[in-house]
Subunit: 237 residues, 2 copies
Amino acid sequence: MSPQVKEILEAATDLVGYKTYINLIGHLADGKRVHESDNRVEAERAYQALELAAEGKYVVVVSSGDPGIYAMAAAVFEVLEQYHQPEWQTIDIQVAPGISAMQAAAARIGAPLGHDFCVISLSDILKPWEIIAQRITAAAISDFVIAFYNPVSKERTWQLAAAKKILMEHRKPHTPVVLGRNLGRKGEEVKVITLEELEPALADMRTVIIIGSSHTRQIQQDNHIWVYTSRRYNSEE
Amino acid sequence: MSPQVKEILEAATDLVGYKTYINLIGHLADGKRVHESDNRVEAERAYQALELAAEGKYVVVVSSGDPGIYAMAAAVFEVLEQYHQPEWQTIDIQVAPGISAMQAAAARIGAPLGHDFCVISLSDILKPWEIIAQRITAAAISDFVIAFYNPVSKERTWQLAAAKKILMEHRKPHTPVVLGRNLGRKGEEVKVITLEELEPALADMRTVIIIGSSHTRQIQQDNHIWVYTSRRYNSEE
């Protein structure tokens, strides 16, 4: 949590968010009105936050990672635009950036995002699978490192298998793959497998997956495994 | 600066880095041995840091933004692998993530990175332009939001014009483009233009440029301009 976010939380009167994330705040939530919600009701949550802010409350929409990357910031602006309420026009909105899951996973394992990369959500709830498949194909052909968010959920498991199938057509089977889970929280876990070992059972909704490019290397230092993406093309490889 | 980075800087005995970044640390550098260097000597800097660490120093390689995204972390692992010094094997290496320039710019202007995006360096010092052009084309066709790092430098100006030419073939001329400079520092500047207005004179080495997708929208709230990327496809647009 950045010092900026801590200050914002201290000043807040109302917290809006998914309960799991609000619980992570700990004692900083003391004395605030807490408006918990379930996951997957982003638009309702954003609406509620804007209404409370228009009433004069200092509202924080709580997100994990970076609110600007697959999180609540876009949902707030979507709702702001959609309803266009006159009383929302003077709300002072601020987005406080954070460390996204891919960055936390990357830092734990080395520097796999050290060169050009793409970030793709595998959730086809809000966009058709054809668009996702086309993006994975384009990213794979162009040798981008790829970070997958929302790789699987209880109801959604075939998408990751389909993504792997596309990747296997363009990347070597031993390409390093990083799986990160619960980054920066209790139960944090980061492991390295190969592309051919990737399967839906290894991931859940909270896993971020980083697929190496042809320039992503796994190296050993003492008994530590590091994964990084070289910045150099035209090298001696 | 995250609390983790502050703790690391407090514990350090030696700071290695580009002088502009070391100057940003301010009084936290007091009492440390400072090994300043010029920009563009990443490998030498990484080598020096590993040598000092092997001597038992607590060395911090200072980077701005996220060291894992176009910054020093990959350079350190490159050098670690290349020289493979026995005395480097037991160095305790740690990467501390941070807020990258694209995230700081995105947060200031709304949520342009709210959905699938690619990150591409326009510098052709370490990789051939053909690879860069191919990545821009793939990202443009697949409707990714695109963040450009190192868009221009004193010696390199045609690359951004060439990138724009490719983008204009696939994106509408009024696509929102965000230019961010000196994020989180004195002289911070974030502005929104359209793709057709983009030109090399508007950027320098410290500028990050975010090119919207077909789902990136510019909205007005009171007299404030926001840019965000909608998470929804199949919407009423």
